[in-house]
């Protein structure tokens, strides 16, 4: 086995050395003698035979070929196709980053620690918060952790969640809330696709720990964070803003009125990779820092007064506090946070704005192109790069027909928003979506919609 650095002779000699100290250990089997005989596996595992490196690559190429190839995709919905500068991969594939452990020994982990400190700083700048942690698993679990954080801070035990929060995030929130005895009340949206403010006001009670919204929301609409914050704060509830499209922060005003921001940083240079690994991160106001879940990197000095970085405030964490910890999280998404850090450094202060502007422009073009063939819903509030289209026919049928044109259409919404009808779908354009692809999508819609209607009739 090519990963094992031992000669047969090494094994014989090592066993002999063990036998010298512990007589009776004269075979490899003897090392496993504490496993009762009845439970010892005496056969080969039924897994595929040993593969050569070339065979492994061939096998995965075959898998890859069974996926979408050569399609123009208009999917977004929490996972975004942005360009990934090549230096991200060259840097994170350095063994010193890729194969290092959690930086519990700071003297030999300053590389990871300083980069995480830079990550925390950039996330604060982007979100308008005062502190940020070193990452959570993803945006959905980050939102759940933020909700539990708000419950601890306020001593209240209810949460109000907007229906315009990503449906899968809401499912995760429900899973976490049910056993913490946190009842969740969902608040609907107004005609402009934003949170229904009157309904929100009515939903908040003296037991409400937090209001959790997403902006840009699942429909791509930017929420009126200031107005929502005012309503939440007037009743003593915290405001949590979940951000699933991090690139929006380049052009959209940060949610400074929020108490906690839960960000999914996938858009910052992280491959879509069929759903993960991504990078959640929680940012918040400094005064609630001690309720923060997950790892935090802090600046300090060494014995010679030299600047350095360490994992800090670990008395919040499970390895110290056990059942009284702020979360059970241990391993986070450090290397993915590193990717985001490099991405943010490459685009920097000007690039992030320009990148976001390109996304706005592409989405505006797509909206006009599709708007000629179908009705765009939720006018009257600003959007980033996604919007809901009410197609002339079922979104599922339309998408099936679009596949013939090598186009993956927008995400059908009926599964989560039946009230929008079977024809509603969520379309997204990023800086990588070309004008030709958008024109082709509009033309294909024009061509197939009557046909689809015909089959349905």
């Amino acid at each position: 086995m090519r990963y094992l650095p031992k000669s047969p002779q090494d094994r014989v000699e090592m066993l002999a050395a063990i036998n010298e100290v512990t007589p009776g250990v004269d075979s490899i089997d003897a090392l496993f003698s504490t496993i009762p005989a009845e439970f010892q596996l005496r056969r080969d595992l039924a897994v595929p035979r040993q593969h050569s490196e070339s065979e492994i690559i061939d096998r995965f190429r075959a898998f890859a070929e069974n996926n979408a190839a050569g399609y123009a995709s208009f999917l977004g919905a929490g996972v975004y196709r942005h360009y990934k500068p090549v230096i991200i991969d060259s840097l994170v594939q350095r063994g010193e980053f890729l194969t290092s452990y959690t930086p519990y020994q700071p003297e030999i982990a300053q590389g990871t620690l300083q980069a995480m400190f830079e990550f925390q700083t950039m996330i604060c700048e982007l979100t308008g918060m005062e502190i940020a942690n070193a990452s959570m698993y993803d945006g959905s679990t980050g939102a759940a952790e933020a909700m539990m954080m708000a419950v601890r801070i306020t001593g209240r035990d209810r949460a109000v969640v907007a229906r315009t929060v990503h449906p899968e995030y809401r499912e995760v929130l429900a899973t976490y809330a049910q056993h913490q005895a946190i009842p969740i009340c969902e608040v609907g949206y107004a005609a402009n696709g934003r949170v229904d403010l009157a309904a929100l006001d009515a939903a908040i009670t003296p037991e409400t720990a937090c209001v959790l919204i997403q902006s840009p929301n699942f429909f791509g609409t930017i929420e009126d964070v200031a107005a929502i914050a005012e309503i939440a704060h007037a009743k003593g509830a915290l405001l949590i803003v979940s951000i699933a499209e991090a690139v929006s922060l380049g052009i959209v005003r940060p949610p400074t009125e929020a108490d906690i921001v839960s960000l999914e940083a996938q858009s910052f240079g992280v491959a879509m990779s069929y759903g993960g690994p991504y990078c959640g991160v929680i940012a918040c106001k400094e005064k609630i820092m001690r309720q923060m879940p997950g790892r935090l990197v802090g600046e300090t000095v060494d014995a010679d007064g030299k600047r350095g970085y360490v994992l800090t405030l670990s008395t919040r964490e499970q390895h110290i506090r056990r059942e009284k910890a702020t979360s059970n999280i241990c391993t986070n998404q450090a290397l993915v946070a590193m990717m985001a850090t490099i991405f943010l450094t490459v685009y920097g202060k000007q690039g992030l704005r320009e990148l976001a502007e390109h996304n706005l422009a592409k989405a505006d073009y797509l909206k006009n192109a599709l708007g000629a063939e179908a009705k765009v819903l939720f006018d009257g509030a600003p959007r980033f790069h996604e919007f809901v289209v009410d197609l002339p026919a079922s979104a599922e049928d339309t998408n099936t027909a679009l596949l013939e044109h090598k186009i993956i259409g927008g995400l059908p919404l009926a599964r989560w928003y039946p009230e929008l009808g079977p024809n509603a779908s969520l379309w997204c354009a990023t800086e990588l979506t070309t004008r030709a692809q958008m024109d082709a999508a509009a033309a294909s819609l024009r061509a197939i919609v009557p046909a689809t209607e015909l089959t349905r009739a």
Partner: protein, 513 residues
């Protein structure tokens, strides 16, 4: 011992040893990007967004590409890594991370797959998940599995939710989870997040589960025992079937923390010895890179009785042999993460399993156990071995002999850095006072093991003859021991401009070896 005196102005190392923060290196107007030409009309952001438009981006960096490459490359050189040498970290299974795993996870068609692309165009991704699931079920001897949890602790959370849903389906969620005092901190933290009380199970004199105590504690309010097997002292719980029987007799379940699965793969299967539900750490046993703290992946495998409660969606094979995702699971605990989990880690773990095959997986386990026992044999005269029970993949010594001279486990761990190694796991498990927990994994050659053994013997000598040298280690690193107390007392968690920052001092390199 004479101390070399460096003059403050003498630069003994390149500036790269004093790499500043990225913000300190930034200058307005520098760029490392160029966007593709905009092929649609540009828009007026202020007009489109109105009051939602952003005015400023604060202190984001502005650098050229070469400066960014150098910055992060320089930072990387300050890290220790598996690629540089051994991590004897017990419980962490720091093994080699094969590079072909990285290649296949980045293949076009895999890396750029969107989780919402139609099922018909996702058969490759689903096929990877199916094959990995089948392999993991065979390796664990369990009946059903979910790949959704993002890390080990997240897997624990999912597993205990399954336990809870199972008991609820019988009419009573029960109140407490038993956890041995030797357990990882995530276990009790997980029980709490799932709404359970934690009942601490004391280990017996061998550091193992005390059957009499277990029998006394298990009652109709007990939901499950969370057991690490082999335990955190590396011992296989030989009475595991009796442990399972005691629990099952009272309707409680056996949860296995699979952190130490590297000791068992191909040699025995948890499903065969009575485990009802367990998690795996793909970033431990199955070689996905630790990346300085993640991403991980924590699949949860369970017996048939728990299958109805698995998180949604569940991977299914449809009538036409196509793979699909089933969302219609009325008894499910719900979703624990958006989408299907850390898919990129599934690709890497499967590549690892393929590279090994059944013979390689078994040899891997045997080598991991051989390595740990070799270290144990070679060092048991040097350090105290608190439990003499035979161990599998790791060995836990204590610092008792050296502590008599004022040298503690943490000091010796720091001194190990001077010898070119990462520290072993310090002060864990908590049932061993002054624990020194060593897990070599299968990835270490005999030569590397002998270097570690020599280093630890030398450190033991130093502890006897020159304790101060060990207590003030490390001496060869770019920075010395950091003031963690100050960091926690007055937390500085972000850069706040040059005024607030501790200035960089020239590296005088006045080091004592």
């Amino acid at each position: 011992m004479t101390k070399f005196q460096g003059s403050p102005k003498k630069a003994t190392t390149h500036v790269n040893q004093n790499e500043g923060l990225i913000f300190e290196k930034s200058s307005p107007g520098k760029k490392a990007y160029r966007l593709a030409e905009l092929d649609v009309p540009s828009v007026d952001a202020a007009e489109l967004l109105g009051s939602a438009v952003r005015s400023t981006l604060g202190v984001m960096p502005e650098l050229s590409e070469i400066e960014i490459i150098r910055h992060f490359t320089r930072l990387s050189t300050w890290n220790y890594a598996i690629d540089l040498g051994m991590y004897p970290l017990g419980s962490c299974t720091m093994k080699y991370n094969p590079r072909v795993n990285e290649v296949v996870s980045r293949l076009e068609g895999i890396a750029d797959a969107h989780p919402y692309q139609p099922e018909s165009l996702s058969q490759g991704c689903l096929g990877i998940m199916k094959l990995l699931q089948d392999c993991l079920l065979e390796i664990t001897g369990m009946d059903a599995i979910t790949l959704q949890p993002a890390a080990g602790a997240h897997g624990e959370f999912t597993g205990i939710l399954l336990v809870r849903a199972y008991h609820e389906s019988k009419g009573n969620a029960r109140k407490k989870i038993l956890i041995p005092d030797s357990a990882h901190g995530t276990n009790p933290a997980t029980a709490a997040v799932c709404g359970y009380q934690v009942a601490n199970l004391k280990s017996n004199a061998q550091g193992m589960v005390d059957l009499a105590e277990l029998e006394r504690m298990v009652d109709e309010d007990t939901a499950a025992l969370m057991l690490t097997n082999p335990s955190t002292i590396g011992v296989f719980e030989s009475e595991i079937h009796r442990i399972a029987d005691i629990l099952h007799a009272k309707g409680a379940l056996l949860y296995m923390d699979g952190a130490n699965m590297n000791a068992l793969v191909g040699k025995t299967r948890p499903g065969d010895f009575g485990v009802d539900v367990m998690h795996l750490n793909l970033h431990k046993t199955f070689s996905t890179p630790h990346g300085g703290g993640g991403p991980g992946s924590g699949p949860v495998a369970c017996k048939k009785i728990l299958e109805p409660f698995l998180p949604t969606p569940v991977l299914v094979t449809r009538a036409d042999a196509a793979l699909g995702l089933d969302f219609n699971r009325p008894q499910s605990v719900g979703r624990v993460r958006a989408f299907c989990g850390n898919f990129g880690m599934f690709v890497r773990a499967l590549a690892y399993i393929l590279a090994n095959g059944p013979d390689g997986l078994r040899q891997t386990t045997e080598d991991a156990v051989l390595n740990a026992n070799y270290i144990r044999a070679k060092l048991s005269g040097t350090f105290e071995l608190p439990f003499t029970t035979p161990t599998l993949h790791e060995v836990v010594f204590s610092d008792r002999l050296q502590a008599a001279n004022g040298v503690k486990t943490g000091d010796m761990g720091k001194r190990l850095i001077d010898y070119g190694f990462h520290s072993y796991t310090v002060s864990f498990p908590m049932i061993v006072h002054g624990a020194m927990m060593i897990e070599p994994t299968e990835s270490e050659s005999r030569e590397e093991l002998d270097l570690l053994i020599d280093a630890l013997r030398q450190i033991a000598r130093e502890a006897a003859e020159n304790p101060e040298l060990v207590q003030s280690a490390p001496h060869t690193t770019r920075i010395s021991r950091l003031d963690e107390t100050a960091a926690a007392r007055k937390p500085v968690l972000r850069w706040k401009g040059p005024a607030a920052s501790i200035p960089l001092t020239p590296d005088t390199a006045a080091k004592e070896w």
